[in-house]
């Protein structure tokens, strides 16, 4: 039974010492995946609504898109990807009972969250200083609303991982008790997943 095996027995899929063929298992708390599915569905609805709106006035969206900095978008995408890698490394470290190393990786993730949020705040300030507000046109309504909703998720993920890092440092998690920590990691990855599409739709799609 999947639910009866410890994480060590199951073989963390991502640790350096993970077996070649880890056991089939659902990472994290199973019920937590309902939240993940709901969030994915909600954002899918947002993305589809955006594309329908874009189809109604492609020129407006393309022109407005020029005001966004693709360089900053790429930078933030890389920050989130590195953050996700750092989360994986933290889980791998903890599965090998290296709590101190795991806390360092989690500190890296938290740093990535702070950098991402800082860049977004800079972007918002830049747009507003150029007279671009959520009410300017449909594109900027989508831009501000979608990226702000996403940033709320990022802040939640960062705070959750910061709390979990304290737990790791206090010895509350170990290789046999990883479900809650894995759920926190999955929430961070959700933030990463959603950004992949936001970045493509808002910054790249011409």
């Amino acid at each position: 039974m999947v639910g009866q095996a410890t994480d060590r027995d199951r073989g963390g899929a991502l640790g350096k010492n993970a077996p070649c063929h880890p056991a089939v298992r659902v990472p994290g708390v199973r019920d937590f995946w309902i939240l993940i599915a709901a969030e994915c569905s909600l954002f899918s609805f947002f993305f589809i609504t955006y594309m329908i709106g874009r189809g109604g006035d492609v020129d407006l969206y393309r022109t407005s898109q020029q005001a966004l900095s693709r360089d900053l978008g790429v930078f933030n995408t890389c920050v989130l990807i590195i953050g996700s890698w750092s989360v994986m490394q933290a889980l791998g470290s903890l599965r090998r009972e290296h709590a101190r190393q795991a806390s360092h990786y989690l500190a890296g993730v938290i740093g990535c969250g702070v950098i991402f949020a800082g860049v977004k705040v800079f972007e918002y300030a830049d747009k507003i200083s150029h007279g671009l507000f959520p009410t300017t046109n449909d594109f900027f309504t989508f831009y501000f609303v979608l990226t702000m909703v996403h940033m709320v998720h990022l802040v939640i993920a960062t705070v959750v991982l910061a709390v979990m890092r304290r737990g790791v440092m206090a010895g509350h998690y170990h290789s046999g008790q990883m479900d809650v920590l894995e759920s926190g990691a999955i929430y961070w990855h959700l933030v990463d997943l959603l950004w992949m599409f936001l970045f493509a739709l808002l910054y790249l799609l011409q």
């Binding site: 899929a13 991502l14 070649c20 063929h21 880890p22 056991a23 089939v24 298992r25 659902v26 990472p27 995946w33 599915a37 994915c40 569905s41 899918s44 993305f47 589809i48 594309m51 329908i52 874009r54 189809g55 109604g56 492609v58 020129d59 393309r62 693709r70 790429v74 995408t77 890389c78 990807i81 590195i82 996700s84 890698w85 989360v87 994986m88 490394q89 791998g92 894995e182 999955i186 990855h189 959700l190 990463d192 997943l193 992949m196 599409f197 970045f199 493509a200 739709l201 910054y203 790249l204 799609l205 011409q206």
Partner: protein, 88 residues
């Protein structure tokens, strides 16, 4: 492809490489709508890597994994169709 191929380091570099390619093709105005479709497909590819390797669904029960992968594929395909329907 063997599941062991997707180590955290390889997934990291693959994701960064796909991001770079997306950035480059989005600048290529000569590609027209192909660039847009490519951008969406690459976003879907990165999303799949996040699901399978970062979220560790590569090792989840098949139904669990296919449910999320199917959802991702459906949304990516729908966005591509809406992009083409929007024209230009």
């Amino acid at each position: 492809m063997d599941k062991v191929f997707f180590t955290p380091h390889r997934t990291l570099f693959l994701m960064l490489a796909i991001t770079g390619i997306s950035f480059l093709i989005s600048h290529d105005s000569a590609m027209g709508q192909l660039a847009g479709i490519g951008t969406l497909l690459l976003a879907g590819a990165k999303g799949r890597l996040v699901l399978l390797d970062f979220m560790e669904l590569r090792h989840a029960p098949a139904l669990w994994r296919w449910g999320f992968e199917g959802g991702l594929l459906a949304v990516t395909a729908l966005l591509a169709v809406l992009y083409l329907a929007g024209g230009r």
